[in-house]
């Protein structure tokens, strides 16, 4: 193949080139490029209405862009943790049965994956009775059971508290290390995400900027997009962890320094 020579050593799991998505006359995504390689954590950020969820749907294969190309590695397995999962009160569903969707797993496998996400003895609990943080972990556990090459998390921290978010991101970082799966994480909170992430893609219908976390954190385009409040909201956290130069450092390094 002619293109093989230009491929990087690891063939991307998903490569989107010049994607354009329109809903009627509204352009939701325009000329968007996104590459996800095996084992990397890509964080997708952007304001409301920036097309983050639309791009996720393109990655998942639910939505076909009107223009551009989407290439998926053959046999790619994707697991998806949606932004919201409302369970109808008429549906009795405990954790054990939920983990069997869509494929059945042994009791032992389920216990192991629950332990991996830091949960124990919740198998017989109804999903409706779990706390926000527990529910998020159960969603993650179900996704992991499929042993995906790519884990897609759509704003996973949205409905849990601040400490829960930190815990969740640490967990995702650890799971990437132990399981080696790539992660596509959607967030509008750049600060919490950056620590574990390899590459941030900032979206506002187009890709505003992309690169390693350090680059995006100081990019004026980002500051302009989110306004000065973002800086103040983030500042106390930075201060607490003592990296006063405003540079974003990897999570492990930050913990060591705190």
């Amino acid at each position: 193949m002619a293109t093989a020579a230009f491929d990087p050593p690891t063939k991307p799991l998903v490569a989107i080139r010049h994607a354009q998505v329109r809903f009627g006359h509204v352009v939701a995504l325009d000329d968007v490029d996104l590459t996800i390689r095996p084992g990397e954590i890509v964080t997708l950020i952007g304001p409301n209405g920036a097309g983050k969820s639309t791009l996720v749907r393109v990655v998942l294969g639910i939505l076909r862009p009107r223009r551009g190309r989407v290439e998926r590695r053959p046999g790619l397995s994707i697991a998806y943790v949606p932004q919201r999962l409302a369970i109808d009160a008429s549906l009795p569903l405990n954790v054990d049965r939920f983990l069997d969707l869509p494929h059945r797993h042994s009791r032992g496998e389920k216990r192991a994956v629950l332990a991996d996400v830091g949960l124990a003895d919740v198998e017989d609990q109804a999903l409706a009775t779990l706390s926000g943080g527990q529910f998020q972990r159960v969603l993650l556990a179900r996704a992991l059971l499929a042993e995906p090459d790519l884990l897609v998390l759509d704003e996973p921290a949205q409905n849990i508290d601040y400490r829960g978010q930190i815990e969740l991101y640490r967990l995702v970082a650890e799971l990437r290390k132990t399981r080696g799966c790539a992660v596509l994480l959607v967030s509008h909170d750049l600060h919490l995400v950056m620590r574990a992430t390899d590459r941030v893609v900032c979206l506002d219908r187009r890709v505003c900027c992309a690169g390693a976390p350090e680059t995006v954190g100081t990019d004026p385009v980002y500051a302009e997009l989110f306004g000065a409040t973002a800086a103040t909201t983030l500042a106390p956290y930075r201060h607490r962890h003592g990296d006063g130069d405003g540079r974003v450092v990897p999570f492990e390094a930050r913990r060591g320094g705190a």
Binding site: R57, L60, G61, I62, I78, A79, Y80, V81, P82, L85, I87, D88, S90, L91, P92, L93, N94, D96, R97, D100, L101, P102, H103, R104, D124, A126, A146, V152
Partner: protein
């Protein structure tokens, strides 16, 4: 000794309940009750067309219901109208067309009341065999596709992302509901068909901890309702279909109030 016609009615009812229970769970979980009603409304058009063309009425009703089900899905894909609007249009349009066609075909005499309220005591052995075979096929499909159906019920996009053919599953469910409604016409009648899809699962809900338990309990609840309703009808000489629905309702009230009492007690 119970008379043979009553035995036939009972067996037909049990077969219906065994299928309507698990299928009805999806109707309840996916909030498709109004969809069931729409198909029931279209049944009259099916009856009329069946009589005019001279084909088996159950087949005619099933065919019209399947066409309506496909129309619902097609209109939903347009995303211009809310589902309840689409269902309302199709329900009333098909009912009106059925009545107009009935009026045009003046020569055909129809026992409307029999179709509206069912005539369970007129069920033949042939009907029972057909229901048994069809019911077994439907249950086999539900069992095979169970986890994917549940998954798609929980979150369509999550299911699609992980390989579920969501549209095909939705269409399959709708067609199965159409078939069950056609088969149930004789037993509880067009006006009360949806009751057999909704009330047994609703009665089973407080007792179930898993979807599978709810499906089995819904089938059992339906069977109890059939048995109780037929007993009621036999002893008090009340119409069969409505008696069955009344029995199902009584069961629903019983499980709901038990659950309510238990909740109050456990809070103390």
């Amino acid at each position: 000794m119970i008379p043979e016609f009553l035995l036939r009615a009972w067996l037909a009812g049990l077969t219906l309940a065994a299928v309507a229970g698990p299928l009805g769970c999806f109707v309840v979980w996916r909030r498709m009750a109004y969809f069931g009603n729409t198909l029931a409304h279209s049944a009259l058009l099916g009856v009329t067309l069946g009589l005019l063309i001279g084909v088996d009425l159950v087949l005619a009703v099933a065919a019209v219901a399947v066409v309506v089900a496909v129309l619902v899905v097609a209109l939903q894909q347009q995303r211009r109208l809310a589902t309840d609007t689409i269902l309302g249009i199709l329900a009333h349009a098909s009912l009106a067309i059925g009545l107009v066609v009935l009026g045009l075909a003046g020569s055909v005499r129809v026992d409307l009341l029999g179709y509206l309220f069912g005539d369970i005591l007129a069920v033949s052995w042939g009907d029972i065999v057909a229901m048994g075979v069809g019911g077994a096929a439907i249950l086999a499909f539900l069992a095979a596709a169970w986890r994917w159906l549940l998954f798609a019920t929980l979150h369509e996009e999550m299911a699609r992302a992980e390989g579920a053919r969501v549209l095909a599953l939705r269409l399959a469910l709708m067609i199965l509901i159409a078939l069950v409604i056609a088969a149930a016409m004789k037993i509880v009648g067009i006006l009360l068909i949806t009751a057999m899809l909704i009330i047994p699962p609703a009665a089973a809900r407080p007792l179930a901890r898993t979807p599978e338990q709810m499906a089995v309990l819904a089938a059992l609840a339906g069977m109890v309702a059939i048995t109780g309703g037929l007993a009621l009808s036999w002893h008090l000489d009340t119409p069969g279909g409505p008696s069955i629905v009344v029995a199902a309702m009584a069961l629903f009230v019983a499980t709901q109030s038990t659950a309510a009492v238990r909740a109050v007690l456990s809070e103390r």
